[in-house]
Symmetry: C2
Subunit: 420 residues, 2 copies
C-alpha cells in the first residue's frame, strides 16, 4: 500500500466539514472589517524567503530546483508572498489596503502533536496606516475572528519591541547578549534568562529586576523604565491608547501587556501581539502579529504595515478542546426504491427534490429496504422516502421520520412542502 | 523587485471574489447529490504518480527530494491521492462512497493562455457502484455543477472505451497501431488519423469508414459495429440506458455519443465523458471523467470506481467568455469622521454596526471628508455615515445614499434599521 508523506494529513469528510465551517466564519469576520481576500502561489522563489529571514531558514524549507534550474520553495508563511504581490502589483491601489488570505504552508520540521509539515494559515496585512485606531482595529479583528468562531477561553497579550529595546538599554545589555537572550525570553524561559544574565556577569538583583519588568503587566512599573527616553515614551503613549481602545471600543476585557513578546523576526518593530488558547498547553499560541517593515526590503516604497497570522489547525484543536458543538453534515432526505424496477422513478423523485435545493441521495446499490434503512441510520439522515409500486399507483410515496419513527403516505407533488 | 515564479499567478481581490463565489456554488451542488468533501496533502510520494501513469510523467511533475531523501512530487491531479486515501483509510466505510475535492495541482508545462503551472481542480470519485443509474447520476452531476454555476453554452459527449476497442478490432487495427492512433483520435485530428492508417497499409475506404464511426453520433451506425460481440453489446446497452436517463430524468438535451474520447489514461475502462464550453476554442474542455480501475493497483480490494475532474480556471474563463455577471463585493457602509477628534466615536459606531453583522469600514487615515468621499466612491460603497460634532450632540449622524445622493440626519441607535 502506498503511504501518505510523513507529517502530512488526509482529511475525512467530518474533519473537512469542521474546517470549512470555521473557514467560512473567519472569512465573514474579515469581510465585516473591510478586508478583501487575495491568493498567491503555493511556491515562491527561494530568494523571497531568504531575503526576509536569512539563509538559515533554508533548513526548515521544502526547497527544490525546477526543471529550468530555478530555486523554488514551498511557502513557510504568507507575509512575504503577500508583500511581494503588493510591491509587484498593488502599490498604486488606494490606501489603506486591507488584505486577507487563507493558504497552506509547509515546514520541514519534526512532526509532533499539533505540528505538521503541511498546515493551513489564515491572516491579513494592513498596508498604509499605523494610527493607534488602525492598530487597535487590527488587534481587535484577530480577537473577534477567534471569538466569532466560538472560542470562549482566549488571552490577548500586547508587547512593543521598541520598549523592549529600551529596557535592554536601561540594563546595559549589549546587542550580542540580546541575541542570546531573546529566544529564551520568547519562550518565557525566565529562569534560563536569569542564569544567562548571571553568566554575562550581571548581579542577582539586576537579573531579577530585568525579568520582573518583562513579566509584569503593571503599567506603572513599565513607565519607570520608559520615561527617560522621548521616543520610547511616545511608543508607551501609543500602547496605552491602543489598550484603551481595545477595552472601551472593542470591549476586550482579557487584554494584558506582555513585554516579553519577541516574535522572533528581525523585521518586526513597535507593537506586537499574541492570542493564546491557554488550554492547549505548549501549543497554546493561536495568533501572532504586529507592525513590521518588509516592503522596502522587497523593493517597494516605505509605508506602514502590520498584520497577523492565525494557525488554522490549532484553532480547530482549541475548539475541540472546548468541546465546541460543530454543526453536523446531514442529507435532507434519503430515497429508497423497494425493488429494482423502481430505480428510475426513485431517481426522478431524487432529482426533482435536488432541483428544489435539497440535498438528497438514494440507494444506488439496489440493496433493498432493510439494508438501506440501516445505511440511512448510519449516515444519520432523518427523513426517508420509500418508493413502492402500490403507493406510486396513487402518485404517493411512504415518508418516514427516523427521529419519531412516524410513517405516512405523501403525494409526490407535495413532498418538497412536507420536507421543507 | 522579487518576481513571482513563472507560470504561476497572484489573485487580486476581485478575482478571488469570483473564485470563491464559483467554489461555493460547486460545493453546494456536490452536497445536493450526497457527496462529501475530503482533502489530501499538496505533495505525495513520487511513486504514487509513477505507479498510476508510468515513469514518463516525471517530465511533467514538480518532483524533489525532501531532507530525508524521500522522493516527493507536487500533485498533478487528485484521483491518485484520493484513491491512495481510500485504500489506506476508507475501505471499511459503507458503500457507495461519494467523495469530492478542491485542490491546487501543479504541472511543469510551457505556460500559455489558460494553462498554468499551478491550477485548481475540483472533482469527485464514486466508489462502490457502477449501475447505469449511478453512472448517469455521476455524469449529470458534472453537467449540473457547470449549469448551476451559470454556464449556458455546454456540450456533453459520452464515449465508451470497450466499444472503441471493439471498433479497433473490427478494423483489424493492432495494439501497436492503436498506440500511434489514440493521441491523434483524442485530439480529434481525424485527417492525421487517415494519413496514419494509410501509412499502415489500410485502404482509403477502411480509413474513411473508421473515422466516420468515430465521429458519428448516429446510434444505428455504431450498433452495426458492436452487435457481433456479446460483451460489447452489453456495454452498448448500458450506454443507451445512461443516455436515456440523462435525457429523461436529468433533462440534459445536449448530450451526444462521441466514440473518439480516449482520456489518454490506461486505467480508464468502459464509460468516459467530457463536457466542453465550445466558445473557449482550443481550451474548451472543462470536464473529463469516466469509469476507471486504480484501487487494485494501489493495493486495495477491487470495487467499481468512476469520477470526474473539472478545470476550475477554465470554468472561470468560460463564465467570463459568456459575460456572466458575477456579484460584486461591496461594503455595506463606510464611516467618515469629519475631524480627528471624532475618530474614536466613529470607530465605536463602526464596531457596533459590525456586531449587527454588517460589513463596515471607516477612514483610518484621517484624510478628511472630501478625500474620504472620493475613496468611498472608488470602492463602490453605496451607504456613507458622516460623523460630525454638531450632529453627535443630538445623538445623530449624517447618512448619505451615494446612489441617490440623498442625505439625511439619522439617530445613532436607529442606524442599523436604516441600513438594513
Amino acid at each position: 500500500v502506498l503511504q501518505i508523506p510523513r507529517g502530512t494529513r488526509d482529511f475525512a469528510s467530518d474533519e473537512m466539514q469542521k474546517r470549512r465551517f470555521v473557514e467560512d466564519k473567519i472569512r465573514l469576520t474579515f469581510k465585516q472589517f473591510g478586508y478583501k481576500e487575495i491568493q498567491t502561489p503555493t511556491f515562491e522563489t527561494l530568494e523571497l524567503f531568504t531575503a526576509k529571514s536569512g539563509e538559515t531558514i533554508i533548513d526548515e524549507l521544502y526547497s527544490f530546483k525546477d526543471k529550468g534550474g530555478r530555486d523554488l520553495a514551498l511557502r513557510p508563511e504568507l507575509t512575504a508572498p503577500v508583500i511581494r504581490f503588493y510591491v509587484d502589483k498593488l502599490q498604486m491601489e488606494s490606501k489603506p489596503l486591507k488584505l486577507f488570505y487563507f493558504g497552506n504552508c509547509f515546514r520541514y520540521d519534526r512532526p509532533q502533536k499539533g505540528r505538521y509539515r503541511e498546515f493551513m494559515q489564515t491572516g491579513c496585512e494592513l498596508i498604509g496606516t499605523d494610527t493607534p485606531e488602525a492598530t487597535a482595529e487590527l488587534i481587535a479583528l484577530a480577537y473577534t475572528i477567534l471569538k466569532n468562531i466560538g472560542l470562549k477561553d482566549l488571552k490577548l497579550y500586547i508587547g512593543n519591541l521598541s520598549i523592549l529595546s529600551s529596557i535592554f538599554k536601561a540594563f546595559n545589555i549589549s546587542k550580542e547578549q540580546q541575541k542570546n537572550l531573546t529566544p529564551l525570553i520568547d519562550k518565557s524561559l525566565f529562569n534560563d534568562v536569569v542564569s544567562c544574565l548571571k553568566d554575562f556577569g550581571f548581579s542577582e538583583k539586576d537579573s531579577q529586576d530585568f525579568i520582573e519588568i518583562l513579566q509584569t503587566s503593571d503599567v506603572k512599573k513599565i513607565i519607570k523604565f520608559t520615561e527617560k527616553d522621548d521616543q520610547t515614551k511616545d511608543e508607551m503613549m501609543r500602547l496605552f491608547q491602543i489598550l484603551e481602545l481595545l477595552k472601551n471600543i472593542f470591549e476586550i476585557k482579557t487584554c494584558e501587556i506582555k513585554l516579553s513578546i519577541v516574535r522572533g523576526l528581525d523585521y518586526y518593530k513597535g507593537v506586537v501581539f499574541e492570542i493564546d488558547a491557554p488550554r492547549l498547553g505548549a501549543e497554546k499560541q493561536l495568533c501572532g502579529g504586529g507592525a513590521y517593515e518588509l516592503i522596502p526590503l522587497f523593493g517597494g516604497s516605505k509605508t506602514p504595515t502590520s498584520g497577523f497570522a492565525i494557525g488554522f489547525d490549532r484553532t480547530i484543536l482549541a475548539l475541540e478542546e472546548e468541546k465546541y458543538k460543530f454543526p453536523e453534515i446531514k442529507l435532507d432526505v434519503y430515497v429508497i426504491p423497494i425493488n429494482e424496477n423502481l430505480m428510475i422513478k426513485s431517481l426522478e423523485i431524487t432529482q426533482n427534490l435536488r432541483k428544489e435545493g435539497l440535498s438528497v441521495d438514494m440507494d444506488l446499490l439496489k440493496r433493498g429496504i432493510s439494508k438501506s434503512l440501516k445505511y440511512a441510520s448510519s449516515i444519520n439522515v432523518e427523513k426517508i422516502i420509500i418508493v413502492g409500486q402500490k403507493e406510486l399507483d396513487e402518485d404517493s410515496v411512504t415518508f418516514r421520520d427516523m427521529k419519531t419513527g412516524k410513517q405516512e403516505l405523501v403525494k409526490i407533488n407535495s413532498l418538497y412542502e412536507k420536507i421543507r
